[in-house]
C-alpha cells in the first residue's frame, strides 16, 4: 500500500471548488462591474501564483539533486507532483498575454488590458520610458520567449520526473540518478537566468514605467517559499493518510527551517527595496510604492507584517518546526498573505486604484485551488509516493537533527 489514493470524496471536493471557479468566471464575464482588465488581471494573478508554487518546488528538487542532500529524498515525489501544475499555469499566463496583445493591437486598440505597454491605440499618449524599452518589451519577442523558456522548463521538469519514476523500476538506478543530477544542474543555471526574464515579462512589465533589478530575486524567493510551504502541507497530508511513514519530525524540522529562512530572506529583500526607495526618493522608483501604500495600504502593511514577523516569531524555536500543527497553521496563513502580496504585484499596475476583492476574486482563487489540487493530487496518485531506489535513501532514513 504505497499508493496515494485520490479518493472520490477528495475528487468531488476539487470538482466543487473548480465549479465555484467556473461560476466566478461566468460572473466576471457577465457582470457589468468587472472590467476586462480586472477579469484578466485576476486570472493572471492566480495562474502566476500557482505556477510560482510549481516552479519553486521544481527548483527546490533540483537543488537537492545538485547539493546531493540526503534528507529530502523521502519527499521527492511530493516536489515532483507539485511541479506538475507548471504547464497548465504557463498556458494560462500565455493566454492572458495573448489576449492583452490582441486587444491592444492596432489603431483601435483598447487600453482596457492587463499589460498597458501592449496598448497601441490612437488614444495612446507617447510614453518615453516604454518606448525606450521596446527592444525588450515588444509583443512578438515577449510571447516567443515565454513560449520557449516555459517549454524548456516543462521539458526539463518532465525529464527529471520520468527518470525518477524509472529509477524505482530498475536495479541499475545509479546512472539514472547521475543523469538527473546533471539535468538538475542545467535546470538550476537555466532557471536562475530565465526566471529573471519571466519575472520581468509577467509581473514587472505590468508597471511598465518602473523597473527594479531586485524584483526577479524577490519573486524567486517567493516561488521558493510557496513551493516549500505547499510541499510541507502535502507531506503532512500524506503522513495523516498513513503514507510516507519514514518521514518523521526531523524531516519536517528541515522543511520548517526552509520556511523560516526563506520568509526572512523574503523580508530582507522586501525591506531593502523599500528602504532604498524611501531613502533616495527618486520619482520614477517611488511610484511603485506610492501606488501601493496610498491605495492598497491595508493589504500592503498586513502582508508585510504577517509574512515577515509571523514566521520569524513562531518558527524560530525548534519545537514549532517539529510540530505538524504549527507548520500547517503558519503555512496556510503564509500562503494567504503571499497571495495578497501577489495581488499587489499585479493589481496597481493593471486596474489601478479602484480595486476590490469581491466574489469574483475569491471565487476564482477557490477555483484555482481546486484546479491545482486536482492536478497535483492526480499526479501524486499515479506513482508510489515512497521511493524505493535512491543512493541517499539510507541517509534520509536515518536523518536526525
Amino acid at each position: 500500500m504505497n499508493y496515494y489514493t485520490f479518493s472520490d470524496k477528495a475528487k468531488r471536493l476539487t470538482y466543487i471548488l473548480m465549479g465555484l471557479g467556473v461560476i466566478a468566471l461566468i460572473f466576471g464575464l457577465v457582470s457589468g462591474n468587472i472590467t476586462s482588465t480586472r477579469f484578466w488581471a485576476n486570472i493572471l494573478l492566480e495562474a502566476a501564483f500557482f505556477t510560482f508554487i510549481s516552479l519553486g518546488a521544481i527548483f527546490f528538487m533540483s537543488l537537492q539533486y545538485v547539493a546531493q542532500s540526503g534528507w529530502s529524498v523521502m519527499v521527492k515525489r511530493v516536489y515532483e507532483a507539485v511541479g506538475r501544475f507548471l504547464p497548465f499555469g504557463l498556458i494560462i499566463i500565455f493566454l492572458v498575454m495573448v489576449v492583452s496583445a490582441i486587444k491592444g493591437a492596432g489603431a483601435n486598440g483598447s487600453n482596457d488590458i492587463v499589460y498597458h505597454w501592449m496598448h497601441k491605440g490612437t488614444d495612446k499618449i507617447y510614453d518615453e520610458l516604454v518606448a525606450k524599452k521596446s527592444m525588450w518589451l515588444n509583443i512578438p519577442f515577449v510571447l516567443l520567449r515565454t513560449l520557449i523558456i516555459g517549454g524548456i522548463w516543462v521539458y526539463l521538469a518532465n525529464v527529471m520526473r520520468k527518470r525518477s519514476i524509472e529509477m524505482d523500476l530498475t536495479n541499475d538506478y545509479l546512472p539514472l540518478h547521475f543523469k538527473n543530477l546533471m539535468t538538475a544542474a542545467y535546470y538550476i543555471v537555466f532557471f536562475g537566468i530565465t526566471e529573471q526574464f519571466m519575472a520581468w515579462d509577467w509581473i514587472m512589465a505590468i508597471d511598465a514605467n518602473w523597473h527594479s533589478t531586485l524584483f526577479g530575486w524577490y519573486l524567486f524567493d517567493d516561488m521558493w517559499l510557496t513551493g516549500v510551504i505547499v510541499t510541507v502541507l502535502l507531506t503532512i497530508h500524506l503522513r495523516r493518510k498513513g503514507l510516507l511513514t519514514n518521514v518523521n519530525a526531523n524531516h519536517m524540522h528541515n522543511l520548517g527551517l526552509w520556511m523560516f529562512a526563506l520568509s526572512v530572506l523574503w523580508g530582507y529583500l522586501w525591506f531593502f527595496q523599500f528602504m532604498f526607495y524611501w531613502y533616495t526618493n527618486i520619482p520614477d522608483e517611488v511610484v511603485y510604492f506610492q501606488a501601493r501604500i496610498d491605495h492598497y495600504r491595508c493589504i500592503f502593511w498586513i502582508m508585510f507584517c504577517v509574512n515577515l514577523l509571523l514566521p520569524l516569531i513562531v518558527l524560530m524555536t525548534r519545537d514549532t518546526k517539529r510540530n505538524d500543527k504549527y507548520l500547517v497553521i503558519i503555512g496556510s496563513i503564509l500562503l494567504v498573505t503571499h497571495w495578497l502580496d501577489a495581488y499587489i504585484w499585479v493589481m496597481p499596475g493593471s486596474i489601478g486604484v479602484e480595486w476590490n476583492i469581491g466574489f469574483y476574486e475569491i471565487g476564482l482563487a477557490i477555483g484555482f485551488i481546486g484546479f491545482f489540487l486536482y492536478v497535483v493530487l492526480s499526479a501524486l496518485a499515479k506513482v508510489p509516493v515512497q521511493i524505493k531506489n535512491h543512493p541517499y535513501i539510507e541517509e534520509s532514513l536515518h536523518h536526525h537533527i
Binding site: F271, F274, M275, W278, Y279, T280, N281, H400
Partner: protein, 175 residues
C-alpha cells in the same frame, strides 16, 4: 562521595556510542566524553540537558537592540539632528526605516559575541588555562569516556561494560 573515575578509551565513535548507551542503560552516569570531533547524538545518550545558550542569545540580542536604539535616537533625534535627503528626523518613528540596518547589525553583533564569550567562559577555554583533557590522544583519533564510580562493584561493572563494547584502554583514576 566518589573520587574514583573509570576512564575508557575507544578508537571508534560508534563503539563509543554503544558503550555510552550501555553504561547509561545500566544506571551509571557519564561525567564527560572527550573526542576529537563532535559525535552526533552523544549528548542525548549522555543525558546532557539542552543548552541554555539560546536564552542567553535572546538576552544579548535584546541588549544590543536597546543599546543601538538608545545610541542612535540620542544622536539622530536629541543631540544633533542632521537633515539627510530631506527626511523627517524629529522622532524615532519618522527615522525608523533608516535605523533598521543599524539595529539589526547591533543585535547580531551583541548576540554573537555574547554567545561566543559565554561559551568560552562557561567551558573555561581561555588563553593560559591548562587543558582539562586527561589524555592527549583524544585530540587525535581516540575517544575518552569518563564515568564516576561509587563502589568497587561499580568499578567492576563499568570496566566490564567498557571491555565488552571494545574499549582499547581502561584506567581507574582516583581523584
Amino acid at each position: 562521595m566518589s573520587h574514583t573515575f573509570v576512564h575508557a578509551l575507544y578508537d571508534d565513535d560508534d563503539r563509543l556510542k554503544d558503550g555510552a548507551t550501555k553504561v547509561r542503560s545500566l544506571g551509571h552516569t557519564i561525567k564527560d566524553v572527550f573526542s576529537p570531533f563532535p559525535v552526533h547524538g552523544i549528548d542525548k545518550i549522555m543525558g546532557i540537558k539542552r543548552t541554555r545558550i539560546s536564552i542567553c542569545c535572546f538576552i544579548y540580542g535584546c541588549t544590543g537592540f536597546s543599546l543601538a536604539f538608545w545610541m542612535i535616537s540620542y544622536m539622530m533625534v536629541y543631540d544633533w539632528p542632521i537633515d539627510i535627503g530631506g527626511k523627517p528626523n524629529f522622532t524615532p518613528y519618522h527615522n525608523l526605516p533608516s535605523w533598521i540596518p543599524i539595529l539589526f547589525e547591533s543585535t547580531v553583533l551583541c548576540s554573537a559575541h555574547g554567545m561566543a564569550i559565554t561559551f568560552l567562559l562557561r567551558s573555561w577555554l581561555l588563553p593560559g588555562v591548562s587543558p582539562k583533557n586527561p589524555d592527549p590522544r583524544t585530540t587525535d583519533d581516540h575517544f575518552l569516556m569518563v564515568m564516576p564510580a561509587y563502589t568497587d562493584a561499580d568499578i567492576k561493572a563499568i570496566t566490564g561494560i567498557a571491555k565488552e563494547t571494545g574499549a582499547v584502554e581502561i584506567k581507574t583514576v582516583h581523584a
